[in-house]
Symmetry: C2
């Protein structure tokens, strides 16, 4: 983990996730896991069908025990959200009404704004089979729906919670291109390093008559340098590449005039008699 | 579904999803479902542990049969990607090396660019328990990793495929605020409509001596109008609100001078004798 990224502040607070009459303990567990993956911890359950606590939920939570242990159970949706200031209802079905409909990106921006203003927020998720009732949606402030394939729109609740949790964490990041770890630190190469690579390679190739016929040499060098520069090698990559040239350069530099039979050539694994040059 | 959104072109092509030695059929099925949710269809399996086809996979795919039926099985990862031009490897673990590490947002932007340029792309996902080997990652062009909670970083493969598929669909959308359906079409109210609502309500309230004492009336009107304008009612909402005023206004307008006993008042459900006004 690079210095900068390991110091990233972990978001461990955020909207409450409210599951309305969830049926399967496995799904509750997978919801808890998805929440933990993206830094959410507050799980509220309205009348879980198979009761609570649930061993199936704990098992499916894959060690997101802090979410499972902290889950609270309510008899009604109203009780589950009385202390909140702002609530989203998730739905895949079109609801006719005045209530604003938001994408997950916009919803999570709103949730972040409210979080920073000290408001308590929540996101409602409906039953596995048929979601939220219109009466339940009416208790929310706004609707959030996912940009799914219209021909295949059903997300299960764990997937829906995962996507909202993921957008929540992304919204809290300053830079969406940020990653938890990076490639090895590398510095852009200087032209001096690039020219050094050119000369190293060209000298080794020249010793083996690669630039043949001589009249073509300037054009061949242009092409070779174009191939080598398009990738914008880093300093570190140039070191690797020059190591490769050195290693190949250990073989005899003298152009063998003697023709080696094809079979013997293959056994030796070395290039020997060549018409023209390796570049053909 | 509103006119504009229903005409949205469905993205049904995109990167191949390549699962390396997946173990459980259920997970392969959930991967297929996640792909179908977000318009991906090309599933490739490298040595699925429990063989192929798999009834468990079909069942877990929840009718994403087109993905299951189209899945292809390969003996090696190399065979599974030979026809592709550009490949991402997903990993949660830091890999030391030169390979660029991207966030899902950046990776999907790259995949979209390559898709539009006619390149064939793919995304590798590792085994459930321990992901991809370093040798497998080395076959990819770049690495993609998820912005997860560092303290709880394990995503299962169906979740990882879901997030990449979701980002893929979002990248193909011009507007990330777009939703598949919208609230009822509504138009912003004109000031004429707002003033009409003010007068309607204030007249009905005035008839009931709401503005009491008279000296406070201008300030009370200011406050009331502030409450009513902060929400920026639409034309349609003003219609609803005026219907509410009309309905309440059906009750007697005359200020009853007679005091009604508290119990009788409650039974009738009407406001009767009031000290001051309703606003107190």
């Amino acid at each position: 983990m690079s210095g900068t990224n390991s110091e990233r502040v972990l978001i461990a607070e955020g909207p409450a996730i409210i599951l309305v009459e969830p049926q399967l303990g496995e799904n509750i567990g997978m919801v808890a896991r998805a929440m933990a993956n993206f830094g959410l911890a507050e799980l509220r359950l309205v009348k879980p069908r198979d009761g609570w606590p649930s061993e199936k939920a704990r098992s499916a939570a894959s060690k997101a025990d802090h979410v499972i242990d902290g889950a609270k159970v309510y008899e009604t949706l109203e009780e589950a959200i009385v202390d909140l200031n702002f609530v989203y209802a998730t739905t895949a079905r079109e609801r006719y009404g005045f209530k604003p409909v938001r994408s997950p990106v916009v919803a999570c921006q709103t949730l972040q704004q409210k979080f920073k203003a000290g408001e308590k927020t929540g996101i409602l998720f409906g039953r596995e089979r048929w979601g939220l009732t219109n009466e339940e949606v009416a208790l929310a402030d706004e609707i959030v729906t996912f940009p799914v394939n219209p021909a295949f729109a059903s997300l299960n609740i764990a997937q829906a919670v995962l996507l909202m949790s993921y957008e929540w964490m992304k919204c809290g990041m300053e830079d969406h291109a940020e990653t938890l770890f990076d490639a090895l630190d590398q510095s852009p190469s200087t032209k001096e390093q690039v020219f050094g690579m050119f000369e190293h390679l060209e000298e080794a190739l020249d010793a083996r008559n690669y630039f043949h016929p001589p009249a073509k040499k300037p054009r061949m060098i242009d092409n070779l340098r174009a191939v080598l520069t398009r990738r914008a090698f880093t300093s570190q990559e140039i070191s690797v590449f020059r190591g490769v040239i050195n290693s190949l350069d250990r073989f005899p530099r003298q152009w063998p005039r003697k023709v080696v039979p094809r079979q013997q050539k293959a056994e030796k694994g070395e290039a020997t008699e060549i018409e023209g040059n390796d570049g053909e």
